[in-house]
Symmetry: C2
Subunit: 207 residues, 2 copies
């Protein structure tokens, strides 16, 4: 049984708030509190939590610690997953520094770039390799996820190489829509599209 995409996203977000709660010493939380933290509804929260099969001790709200563990159980892989960042421009660096150390089960292992002057440079403790060594490094380190932050014109070629190297999850930050085999999970995020969407709704507000 796989969860709905939106639920997975929200669980990830809930977890962050819950960890925050733990730090603040809050041990229990109500669905409506969690909802408020994420501008959605209490029912939605309960429904999401129902999906993962957790139940609260009624009337006290959810046990934060327990809920965090249940979510971790759903989202995290037991041994963790290894990640590579492809392309060390501004965005690649942002992503790398951003992620390192944030989630113990997602390890950024390497970055890659064509620019030979960047080779061996270390960003937030992560070393940069030449793209020529992609397959070798991916295999040696069992990297399964790639985050692509390369220029648009090399995106398609790069994606092919990544698939060839054995990647099974791909986050595409380029503006080029990619085609990958179905067994590779692809998440595309296109900033220009997002900005244009914001612009549209600024111009034509709903209702």
């Amino acid at each position: 049984m796989t969860l709905p995409e939106r639920t997975v996203e929200r669980l990830s977000e809930y977890r962050r708030s819950l960890l925050q709660c733990l730090e603040e010493g809050k041990t229990h939380i109500f669905s409506h509190e969690l909802a408020e933290l994420h501008h959605n509804t209490a029912v939605q929260v309960r429904r999401d939590i129902m999906f993962i099969g957790y139940s609260s001790t009624q009337r006290k709200g959810y046990d934060v610690r327990e809920l965090v563990d249940v979510i971790a159980n759903i989202l995290d892989s037991e041994k963790g997953l290894n990640v590579a960042v492809i392309g060390v421009g501004n965005l690649g660096r942002a992503v790398t520094t951003y992620f390192v150390g944030k989630r113990s089960k997602l390890n950024i292992i390497a970055t890659f770039d064509v620019d030979t002057t960047k080779i061996d440079r270390v960003i937030s403790g992560v070393k940069c390799y030449p793209l020529s060594r992609l397959k070798e490094v991916v295999e040696a380190n069992q990297i399964s996820i790639a985050i692509m932050t390369v220029p648009a014109d090399s995106a398609v070629e790069m994606a092919a190489q990544l698939v060839e190297a054995g990647i099974t999850g791909l986050m595409n930050f380029t503006t080029v829509p990619l085609n990958v085999p179905r067994e590779v999970y692809l998440d595309e995020y296109d900033m220009i599209t997002s900005l244009e969407k914001v612009a549209y709704f600024v111009k034509s507000p709903r209702e």
Copy 2:
């Protein structure tokens, strides 16, 4: 009549492909071709195009030039919209260099940062202002959209200031969910959540 969010997103994506087609001298395109470029279906494309009220000369496909114009008419504001980037870290710089010049109707006018050493620095032709001058600069330049790439701990405060300054569209790249008045359009993108989602589907592929 406002369009469905997803349709707006896809229109933005279609436009990019269509502009590409124009450059290549392609004057007409079929729904299935456009679909293939964006890994979705021909019906979906036709439905989206139906929403914006455009019709093809049948059997020849859509006139690329005309379609681009119709989409521009829907997505773009006549006089363009002005945009500011808040926070000039790696991500802020990435976003700025990324956008500048990409869309004539979306002008990045200014960046802002607390770090006084960054003031007056110019990135891709865009000048950095101190946050203390936010309201003044926003008003003087009629900036209506803000892209937030600040650290998590200043996100909430920052959003409040932006709303106060008169922003009506907000792209939030921090991992903190924000609450803004309903008249402000909010788009949130959370990289950690996206990565965790990819990780989940790598671990638990669908079907």
